[in-house]
Amino acid sequence: MIAIAIVRTKDLLAVVMLTGIYGLLSASFFVVLDAVDVAFTEAAVGAGISGLLMLAAITMTGRTEAPKRHKPLLALLVVFVTGGMLIYGTLDMPYFGSFEAPVHQHVAPRYINDSMQEVGVPNIVTSVLASYRAFDTLGEVAVIFTAGIGVLSLLSLPQRRRSYRLDESKKELMHEQHMVVRIVSKTLIPFILLFALYVQFHGDFGPGGGFQAGVIFAAAIILYAMLFGLDTAKRVFNQTLIQLIAAIGLLLYASVGVVSLFSGVNYLDYNVLADDPVAGQHLGILLIELGVGCTVAAVMIIIFFNFVGRREAQQDANEQNSTELNNSHELKSTELKSTELNNTKQNNREGE
């Protein structure tokens, strides 16, 4: 129902909210299926941060869908064929929850029976993700890092000195209006951050881990940036710093593997990290989860900051244009611009 509503609705703001609900529903769906870790991720990512990012995108593009000019019949056909194929594929699947299903018979028994002795982590999902299939997780972190770098390479603006005077007065005005929200969230943010840390370090024992923790952590920062302005948030987390945090996260993860290599065993074999293999596994998982958390949080913040930074730059440009036109100070402004241009040119030369 919600999926249909999402397709049919023309107001993009409503669409974003509906996708949030959709994410929450699928999260509860995963809970019903006993996949709490997946549910947690879906709740944090699908229902939480992706909505925020879409909102940030909408503020740049406008609220309503562009009217369609053509009827995409071919696309509809492809969708039906794909859907048909999916249903056809389910016909011979093992029954849902069946004990005999190959999924439960082949690799899973070892994970369930032996992971406690081999990895020593009560949460089996964590032991599979972070130890048995740790290399996949490293790949996933690299995917997230790639996304962050991709966004940076396309959206980042050259760092510029902004005119704080004008901005600040405007922002004060805007934020005064949201007094209640500001105070409530100000008290909430420390707890969100604390919760993120809890999720981060408790991932071995209960649902959670680096991915979810990173997203929650980033959500707190983004909340702060939304209410107190991007510039205030950037004073704490400036662009270069977050980039480096993202890089360090990935490096930390990969270096754990390199340490194993130098100890003479295969890549990402944690057994040698401490005297006792199980303690080694613990240490390894702790470190890589920390790496995951760093990269995920930093990349989410990078994406949000760059989206919003773009928008503010757009707004500034628009305002400048309009003020120029209104006050007909064109002469002055062109003079200013030319001096600015000269300045930047000089700077460039000095830089070279």
């Binding site: 594929g89 994970y111 130890s131 048995y132 396309l154 050259p158 480096l244 990935l250 390199v258």
Partner: protein, 492 residues
């Protein structure tokens, strides 16, 4: 350390990508990235040697046994692909510093190299692993970085091209993921070798059939097989020159690898070629692709477009060799993978040099360049001859083996059509030669200088490789033969 070569091939560029951000000086980062790529190149040579002398390398990540953990499995095919990607990646990167000076703003240089390394990491990861889900993860790395790299193009249309590629590529990746999910459901394993064993029991089920179809369609989208090629021409045409040269030589090759790996190793030859009429389907699509794309190439006015369409046609040749389903056919495909990588990287890099000097690759702008940039243009001519398949170039070798395979299989009409298809290549290459050599320089344009040596060196290394491997075919043929025989389960 010798035992860890296979993992180092992937991990070194993977770790180098974030390290780029710490250096943050265009030239320094370039040297660093070049060093890393050169390392992977040398490493891949060692790997190939090791595989050829002592057989498949198996490496268990995290020390866990195969179906529970992830394993790397490098046989002749993987080693060949690793060699192609790392060689092209290194040589092309050599020209990057000069090329992106004119095509990218200074602030993006570090990010560019970081993305380049991530992209190459993704490809290495795909062709090294013996685990199907790991394939998907690294496919994501290489695709995401690929989209971003293409979108960096100076032309505004690059954004739209990257967006199209993103949508098509994501659909392809999703299909592959659905296929992998269905396979896991039926077998409970993600390991390729294990899958091959366990699929035999259940391969008559509809779920496996659906999985097979999803995988094939998903891979063909990535492969840009006609008619799923629509994303390719613009993506190649508007991307930065270096990116085009790198992706054109590697991206589709990785997809061909996946197709071979899934059909031959995971599903098995018998199943793959009997459940769907793959042979006829692919031969027809390949032929139509060759003719449609070559004809389109003849009418294009942007030289990058011309060669992009030519790439689609070349995918047709590869897919025909594959679809013949004999050792010779597969060998022809593998040879063409290697040879086409050499031709296209040389050609697109030469176009990068033209872009550097005159800022455009419109055919009309090529007038008189034959005299003004003699070395660059000569490289384009030789690359073009190789594309056509003239003797003494690599193009001839792959076409020769392909024809042999087709005739061996008794498909005479296909052989005739293949030759006709090559004639179309003569036409589009001739158009460039004619404009560059036989038309007077554009009036009102200052004399264009020859490209700087940072361009000429890598271009000519590639061109000479085109000629060398066209004469001395021992290395390429030997490896291709060993790879195709091991895929067919014949022990030499």
């Amino acid at each position: 350390m010798l035992a860890h070569l296979s993992i180092l091939q992937v991990v070194v560029p993977l770790m180098a990508a974030p390290l780029c951000l710490f250096l943050n000086r265009s030239k320094l980062v370039w040297l660093f990235a070049l060093l890393v790529c050169a390392f992977t190149f040398v490493n891949s040579i060692f790997l190939l040697q090791q595989v050829m002398s002592s057989g498949t390398i198996i490496y268990q990540l995290g020390g866990w046994d195969a179906p529970w953990g992830i394993e790397y499995r490098i046989d002749e095919l993987n080693a060949l692909l690793l060699l192609i990607i790392s060689a092209v990646g290194t040589i092309v990167l050599f020209a990057a510093h000069t090329s992106i000076q004119k095509e990218l703003p200074e602030s993006r240089h570090t990010l560019f190299y970081s993305l380049y390394l991530l992209s190459i990491t993704g490809m290495f990861g795909i062709v090294s692993t013996g685990d199907v889900f790991n394939v998907f993860v690294f496919l994501e790395i290489s695709s995401l970085s690929g989209y971003a790299l293409i979108a960096l193009g100076k032309d505004r249309r690059a954004l739209w091209a990257a967006y199209q590629y993103l949508i098509m590529g994501t659909i392809g990746a999703t299909f592959i993921l659905i296929g992998i999910g269905l396979l896991y459901q039926m077998t409970g394993t993600l390991n390729m070798a294990d899958l091959a064993n366990r699929l035999a029991e259940v391969n008559q089920t509809r779920t496996v059939f659906a999985a097979f179809t999803f995988l094939i369609v998903g891979i063909c989208l990535k492969l840009a097989l006609f008619p799923l090629h629509l994303w390719l021409p613009n993506a190649y045409a508007y991307a930065p020159s270096i990116v085009t040269a790198f992706l054109a030589a590697t991206a589709t090759k990785v997809a061909v690898y996946l197709l071979i790996r899934f059909t031959y190793t995971v599903f098995g030859i018998e199943f793959s070629f009997s459940i769907l009429p793959l042979q006829n389907l692919f031969i027809i699509l390949g032929l139509v692709g060759i003719f449609a794309a070559s004809t389109a190439a003849i009418y294009k006015t942007n030289v990058k477009h011309i060669f992009a369409y030519s790439s689609i046609a070349q995918v047709g040749y590869m897919i025909i060799g594959y679809a013949i389903n004999t050792t010779t056919g597969l060998m022809a495909t593998l040879l063409h993978l290697f040879n086409h990588a050499l031709m296209k990287s040389a050609l697109f890099l030469a176009l990068g040099a033209v872009m550097y000097r005159i800022g455009s690759v419109q055919l009309s702008q090529f007038q008189g360049l034959g005299r003004q940039m003699p070395l660059t243009m000569a490289a384009i001519v030789i690359g073009g001859l190789s594309l056509i398949g003239v003797p003494l170039t690599v193009g001839f070798i792959s076409k020769w083996y392909l024809l042999l395979a087709v005739i061996e299989a008794g498909m005479w009409p296909v052989a005739v059509l293949l030759l006709l298809g090559s004639l179309l290549a003569v036409l589009y290459v001739w158009r460039i030669v004619e404009t560059a050599y036989f038309k007077p320089p554009l009036p009102g344009r200052e004399a264009v200088q020859e490209a700087p040596w940072t361009f000429l060196a890598p271009i000519w290394i590639l061109v000479l490789a085109n000629i060398y491997f066209g004469i001395d075919t021992r290395l390429s043929v030997q490896v291709a033969q060993a790879a195709s025989q091991s895929l067919f389960g014949i022990n030499p």
